[in-house]
Symmetry: C2
Subunit: 230 residues, 2 copies
Amino acid sequence: MKKILLASTSTVYGGTYLSYLQEELARFFKGINEIVFIPYARPSGISHDEYTEIAQKGFSSIGKKIIGLHSFENPEKALKEAKAIFTGGGNTFLLVTQLYKLNLMDTLREVVENGTPYMGTSAGSNIAGQTMQTTNDMPIIYPPSFKTLGLVPFNLNPHYLDPDPNSKHKGETRETRIKEFHKLNDIPVVGLREGSWICVEDNKIILKGDLTARIFLKNQEPKEVSELVF
Amino acid sequence: MKKILLASTSTVYGGTYLSYLQEELARFFKGINEIVFIPYARPSGISHDEYTEIAQKGFSSIGKKIIGLHSFENPEKALKEAKAIFTGGGNTFLLVTQLYKLNLMDTLREVVENGTPYMGTSAGSNIAGQTMQTTNDMPIIYPPSFKTLGLVPFNLNPHYLDPDPNSKHKGETRETRIKEFHKLNDIPVVGLREGSWICVEDNKIILKGDLTARIFLKNQEPKEVSELVF
């Protein structure tokens, strides 16, 4: 049975890396000492080693050891043998490109479908959706496909941002961008605000955190929900 | 000789479509009565016809006729025979996909290189760069390539936005995104603020409007400039 935690962000305003999620992480990873970390999204272009150190800091206080997937000679085998997997945020195009390049997308999907606990933040959550097409990131590299893990029956828009009524900026709002996505695609989109996360456990999809999520369906007005029904 | 006008946005805060550019457009398109409009970027998913109507309104007061490229039976021939070309904003992924699908990218490059005046706003400006990789848009469709017209020796980031010092949002700033681009790519990037535009005329690249532009070069600190030197 799938066990998945998808957070909008690793860090909320005023907090440190994963600080707001500590209690939930202790529960979610209970009984697991070692987590394989996928650092490929490289936020701000930091190295895999640097990123793995940051991830380790976020898990130290709950006593988990983090091992970067890049440090294994055979990453496919590492995923297959992992007790749990965490994919950090950064650039989704880079993350997806790297997963395809190393031929890991199918393996990652398989192990999570078969029950290996999976956690993602931001780009790491985005790839749990059907496609990466509702990312906010810049296309800094050309991936072989936009198709992602499809672990949940929707796409995610992490760091979902409401339109600012006082803004003088004329670039598209997040809502307009998702509306444009739905002119060409049918996949439901969950706009997940910072401080929210989704848990898939016992065949249920549960929205957690204090905030509502914004649901976008093709040809429908967006809805604010406190429960996810798919 | 190339003659190009690349605007960050079609509309500035408090204005109407192209209102802030009227004087410049009258000058830029002097002696030209008819402009071929490329509506493929479809902002908010509006139709090609609807978008062409909006473009026509923006040019009516200076007496120009706008004809949508989609209305020609042979769009390649239409580009070759155009007196001038204007590509509107919207979704860059959709615009680029459509140009490749209709096999128009090379023709568009050729005619502009050979002197057909070209104007772009937002996505229409972005495609004048070397690649579309510094767009802000969502990847709502998978283009055959990120390579674009390469009419200028840099990439553009239209609607460039400075970090908001009061923001509590933890998503990447525009500057961080462009920094991530430069971890993998060498192409200079011009962050073009709303209200700014670039003219390429007489072999000179000139920044216009009241604002400075922000220049990003690989491995260098970004710079504020009032002149573009490439």
